[in-house]
């Protein structure tokens, strides 16, 4: 039995309906534990003060914003090469999640920036790359919405996703070239400060797991919706032929 069988819509519906309860419970557990731990039970950091708690929403959402795009890239390639409809629909389902994650990372980063850098926004490479990513998501979603024929929409958005990925990488390089930046990143890496790393590290990992699981849950739910919507479209068209 090959992995590709899960790309069959029916099989996907069955498998996902079995999986969903487990995944969603796990998601809730991880998110609640991670966020409660992070928010209530971690100490202030020397240079960040209590704002260090923002890390528990900021970093996981930033990671998922990127990972969602990578997942869309992979599913787009699968659609173009193997023409599995579920794959294309999963990409469509993931885009709004990625967009939301990008927005969360941007907003929490902006809020964090005010106390740390004295400004909500600075044209730092990492921040800038996220802004560009935000634009890519917007364009991608807008293209899906604009095209009526579902297969054509899947094809065109896949092409956009691939070309866009190349340009997103290029932008990352260009932005680095353009401005050296303020973003903490590795300089204030938490793992290096042995004494506090554990305190922050574990809840952070749980939060990241929670966000990953949330992404998986939502992709499953939304892909199921997209599959059903496709079937409705086919049924309605059939009725019209009457």
């Amino acid at each position: 039995m090959s992995l590709w069988e899960y790309a069959n819509p029916q099989k996907f519906m069955q498998t996902s309906s079995v999986l969903l309860p487990f995944v969603s419970v796990l998601t809730a557990v991880c998110l609640v534990v991670g966020l409660v731990w992070g928010f209530f039970l971690t100490p202030e950091a020397a240079n960040f003060g209590s704002t260090v708690k923002i890390i528990y929403v900021h970093v996981p959402s930033a990671m998922m914003a990127i990972n969602a795009w990578v997942m869309m890239l992979v599913t787009s390639l699968i659609w173009l090469i193997r023409r599995h409809h579920v794959s294309a629909l999963a990409a469509r389902a993931a885009a709004p999640i990625g967009l939301t994650m990008t927005v969360i990372a941007l907003i929490t980063g902006a809020i964090w920036g005010e106390p740390m850098w004295g400004t909500y926004w600075a044209w730092d490479p990492r921040l800038t790359s996220f802004l560009i990513l935000f634009l890519f998501y917007l364009g991608y979603i807008a293209l899906w919405e604009a095209i009526e024929n579902p297969d054509a929409a899947a094809d065109l958005t896949s092409v956009l996703c691939i070309v866009g990925s190349v340009f997103a990488l290029l932008s990352r390089y260009a932005v680095n070239f353009w401005n050296q930046g303020l973003h903490q990143g590795a300089t204030l890496s938490l793992d290096k400060e042995e004494n506090i790393s554990d305190v922050y590290w574990l809840p952070l990992v749980i939060c990241i797991a929670g966000f990953v699981l949330l992404f998986v849950t939502l992709v499953l739910v939304r892909t199921r919706t997209e599959i059903r919507a496709r079937r409705i479209k086919a049924l309605v068209a059939r009725e019209r032929m009457g």
Partner: protein, 208 residues
């Protein structure tokens, strides 16, 4: 341009906007023949012609035809409003690697209008220019979608004569039309090939 040339369509199915409209269409069109596609509005003639011309993929079935032998003329004429009649024709001639547009101008009574910009033509004159384009493609199989729209009686006759000459020269023509064109031709009513609504009993069929 006389080479053994035949268009064989077997069991073709085609869809518009993801909805199957015709299925099981089969016919053969040999050199020297013309075939008129008949059928009520909305049955799928345009869709069938676009599929044959290679502009959209077939749902099922085969179209066997030598490559680069078809010239397609759609509802729209592909004319540039600001170019003159001559320039429009010359452009298409060059794209299709042909030269000499004089015969096309004469055959469709456009010589007097040769220097006129396409935007200053009347509806029927524009259509004549669109049809003249077929002659400069040098291609043997004409695939035409309602070619005589807006034409007056004299121009319909011009068109009929042009088709007959084309057939005599070993060409072929497949024409969707609602009116009588005044030359002998086979007829194919596509109404019987209307796609049957499928059961869609299986969930997966929504993705066919």
């Amino acid at each position: 341009m006389r080479y053994p040339m035949e268009m064989i369509v077997s069991d073709l199915a085609c869809a518009r906007g993801g909805v199957p409209v015709l299925e099981g269409v089969s016919f053969t069109l040999a050199a020297g023949q013309a075939l008129l596609l008949r059928g009520p509005n909305g049955i799928g003639k345009t869709t069938l012609l676009r599929t044959l011309a290679g502009l959209q993929p077939a749902l099922a079935g085969q179209v066997s035809v030598p490559p680069e032998t078809m010239a397609y003329a759609a509802h729209a004429d592909g004319l540039k409003a600001t170019l003159t009649v001559t320039e429009n024709l010359q452009f298409w001639a060059r794209i299709f690697g042909q030269r000499g547009i004089d015969r096309a101008l004469e055959d469709f009574n456009l010589t007097d209008l040769a220097g006129r910009a396409a935007q200053n033509l009347s509806a029927g004159q524009k259509r004549r220019l669109g049809l003249a384009r077929l002659l400069v493609t040098g291609r043997p199989i004409w695939v035409l979608d309602e070619p005589t729209v807006s034409l007056d009686v004299a121009s319909v006759a011009l068109f009929g004569a042009a088709v007959r000459r084309h057939l005599d020269g070993g060409g072929a023509a497949l024409i969707a039309t609602h009116i009588d064109l005044g030359f002998p031709a086979g007829q194919l009513d596509v109404t019987p090939f209307r796609a049957q609504p499928r059961g869609l009993d299986h969930f997966d069929e929504a993705f066919a």
